[in-house]
């Protein structure tokens, strides 16, 4: 519509802003807004009027998780520690979306430093699920998913360390993609667990997500772990076709712990795919049940080191009163971090200590290799794997915040993709009798995001588009 000049970038932004005015009080998806968004939209409109060559997402509003560095715009990681931190540089993905002419609406709420599955560990406020504001939106990219679901942005960027894009997308009924490790530059993403996390797109239709993924992909000389792998245009190559597609149904991920409604809905989806030519097969990854244990050891270990820089010396929070250096460190970190962050720093420090390194960190690393091998073996026989994204639909705000184990178990189905570095996508798959959405997860081989997007696109086409059941008037 924008390209055909049926509407302008400013009009789209105004629509989004109207929506924000109307619902943000009840949702709380954003932590800060971009004061220059209107200016940017006007610039894009001027360029469009001059018929300048622009990317297909030029003029489209995008919300960005508050752990992605934005030059001159507060980036807090939803932590007291970085309450007033304004980055002096842009993350690589921010440069990319700006070069593409996208309009940054604002920065979205999240679990503190990405640690949590409900956006409740944010120092500032909880975010509410747009489908029912008594419920959490999931996390840690809860603000981004909620913003897209509520129409407070067209697209969003989240980050996924153990499921943080896919799980909230499932709870909010939107599409969320975790790319292959190394596909997207992490430069400027404030690190939680460096070896596991990726920035990923969140949107309401597969085309949008494919476009955004195309824009943010690619090697970056500032991120040594980004891959030189050639990036195709995922959008241009989108194909609604599953003929001959070999789909593996992950046995361990359809256990009795999973909500029956979700399972049934996925079976229903699979039968639609089968009708269109996909071949189904039940597969087993026995060691995947240890993925969660390995994940928490590796993620906490890296977090304990990544978060060491918040020491009150150079930036961020510093305790007002102290008598010496060590007291300054202790008080700053005790006051600046929330409970979940402290829990993981302590766990990580423990598993890295020389007496326990062999027992925990080394073993977790070995398990990571074992699980990766199992997945790559299975993916020789299957093109794509399917599972629920979450064991259940969203839970109520406050319901699990004091039960860290239960909270952690939320990630049971999503962490394997992070442990193995494989790409995975959440595709909306239905709504529960309580009216809460849920999704299914597709996993493919490394650097085969195209297949994930094609499968999701095919499904979207077969059902004539996703029904979000949220009246966006």
């Amino acid at each position: 519509m924008l390209r055909n000049k049926q509407c302008s970038a400013v009009e789209i932004l105004n629509d989004v802003n109207e929506r924000i005015d109307k619902t943000e009080n009840n949702i709380g998806a954003y932590l800060s807004f971009n004061e220059n968004s209107l200016l940017h939209a006007q610039t894009i409109d001027e360029l469009l009027a001059k018929n300048e060559e622009l990317s297909y997402l030029a003029g489209i509003p995008i919300a960005v998780k508050d752990n992605i560095s934005t030059k001159g715009i507060r980036t807090t990681c939803a932590s007291r520690m970085l309450e007033n931190y304004i980055p002096p540089y842009n993350a690589t993905v921010i440069n990319k979306i700006q070069d593409a002419g996208m309009i940054l609406t604002g920065k979205t709420n999240m679990d503190e430093f990405g640690m949590g599955s409900s956006t409740e560990t944010s120092f500032f406020k909880p975010t509410h699920n747009p489908h029912n504001t008594d419920y959490v939106p999931g996390g840690s990219s809860g603000g981004s998913s909620a913003a897209v679901a509520a129409g407070e942005s067209i697209l969003a960027l989240g980050s996924d360390t153990g499921g943080s894009v896919r799980q909230p997308s499932s709870y909010c009924g939107v599409i969320g993609l975790k790319p292959t490790y190394g596909r997207v530059s992490r430069f400027g993403l404030i690190a939680y667990a460096s070896s596991l996390e990726q920035i990923g797109p969140i949107g309401k239709c597969v085309k949008d997500v494919a476009m955004l993924q195309t824009i943010i992909s690619g090697y970056d000389k500032y991120d040594s772990t980004s891959c030189a792998h050639k990036t195709e245009d995922f959008y241009k190559l989108l194909k609604a076709d599953v003929k001959g597609l070999k789909i593996g149904i992950l046995k361990e991920y359809f256990s009795s712990d999973i909500n029956e409604e979700i399972k049934n809905s996925i079976y229903n989806t699979l039968s639609i795919l089968k009708k269109n030519g996909a071949k189904l097969k039940v597969v087993s990854i026995p060691m995947s049940v240890y993925a969660l244990n390995s994940y928490y050891i590796l993620a906490s270990a890296e977090a304990s080191s990544n978060l060491a820089r918040y020491d009150g010396v150079k930036f961020g929070y510093r305790t007002p009163e102290y008598n010496n250096l060590s007291e300054m460190y202790i008080k700053t970190r005790s006051e600046g971090f929330g409970d979940e962050v402290k829990r993981r720093i302590m766990l990580g420090t423990f598993v890295l200590s020389s007496d326990y390194y062999e027992d925990y960190h080394k073993k977790a690393k070995k398990m990571q290799a074992v699980i990766s091998n199992e997945f790559s073996d299975i993916l020789k026989d299957c093109d794509i794997l399917v599972s629920p994204t979450t064991t259940d639909t969203a839970f109520k705000i406050g319901e699990r915040i004091n039960n860290p184990i239960k909270m952690i178990n939320n990630d049971f189905l999503t962490v394997a993709a992070n442990i193995t570095g494989l790409p995975a996508i959440n595709v909306p798959c239905g709504k529960s009798s309580k009216g809460l959405p849920f999704g299914m997860q597709f996993i493919s081989n490394k650097f085969n995001e195209q297949l994930l997007l094609n499968t999701a696109y095919a499904y979207e086409t077969y059902i004539d588009g996703f029904d979000f059941g949220l009246k966006l008037d």
């Binding site: 560095s69 980036t75 002096p88 992490r186 690190a191 772990t225 080191s305 420090t349 020389s354 390194y357």
Partner: protein, 480 residues
Amino acid sequence: MNKYETIIGLEVHAELKTKSKIYCDCKNSFGSDPNTNICPICMGMPGTLPSLNKKAVEYAIKMGHALNCKINNISHQDRKNYFYPDLPKGYQISQADTPLCENGYLDIMVEGKKRRIRITRIHIEEDAGKLLHDNSDNNSLIDFNRCGVPLIEIVTEPDIKSSKEANIFLDTIKAILKYIDISDCKMQEGSIRCDVNVSVRPYGESLLGTRCEMKNVNSFSAAVRAIEYESKRQISILENNGFLFQETRRWDDSKGISIIMRTKEDMQDYRFFPEPDLCSIFTDDETIKRIKSEIPELPNDKLFRYTDVLCLPYNDAVLIAYSYDKAKFFDEAVKLDICSPKSICNKIISDVLKYLNESEKELSETYITPQKLVRVIKEVENGNISNTSASTVIKLLMEENKEPEDIISERNLTQNSDEEFLLDLVNDVIASEKKSVIDYKNGKKNVLGYIVGKCMKKSMGKANPVKINEIVLNIINREE
């Protein structure tokens, strides 16, 4: 008689003189205004990532070759975690289990004898910032310019047996760093520093004693003092039936004592783990070979060539071979093939080194060139100037950018070697010193010097003393 032997292991840190820092594009230079060579990456700002400077890897491998190490094709970088205000990320990127270079050795010459010191490993890491303490208002300031400057750490086995050996080892390391041109080696700028591990044990004992690590050793001479102090301290504890504890001590060079920093119980746990932001370092055999081919002749090889091929005296050869500048100067002078290596060596030792010691200058800070030195030596050999005058000329050549010939003529240093002139001169003197001639003939041979001296005086120092000597002898011996 000392019953104990001292066992020393060294950890030498040398800053590499790459153009940019090890993990970002910031300039690697000393002496800039505080916090001007910094960026979000070396400041450890949230979200930043390191990218490895390949030059630092190459330099480290170069040192690995120079110290006869095995170069690992695959090596990893690890995080060393600890809190300190000069460490912006709260961890230092270093190398733990798989360093770039391992299992080497360095032969050092101790009183003419070869001693082999085994090298455990050489790895790369990043330097930290510098704390500046302002005592006036009880504040500490941090200069982050040094943050991310590439370092190599060279770790030895406990093979060093005395402070003297340690000193020679360090001097040799420094010379090699200069030779392969990877470090400025400026002690006063802290570009080379070391930690010292010392233990003592009774002679004949094969097990190592309890060691103490000493930090804050900021110069080689301080290393010597620290080792001597520490070995005495440990021996006196053992002599008094005391116990030694493994501990880290801080060397206070101004007071000449070591002070306890921490005991084994509260040793830091650095919680090493693989740096997830960086990939493994792969170095193929071809690259390793290429770097090896770039290594020049090293001090030990030079020393061998000087003593065994050029036949220089050992003590002189050491002085030249272990100094990159002097060896280069000497080699160039020899290459001109105008004077003998021996005569060049003599002049370097007697005049050039003397001047450098007195002026506390480096050779590079003077104006003399190998060509000029050789020309001076040639003037002496041709009998145009005396050795004494040559010393004067060399000194002036070092101080000023002048030609030797100009100095000789300006200062009127040419000596007279004209046969006729000298013969007249000697005849005149002998005619007035009849008594001395008789004394000489009666066996008082030292009168010769007196007569030559008289000749020199009469010529106002211009006569060639060697020739005068010959002529006087001829005349006296003829006068039967």
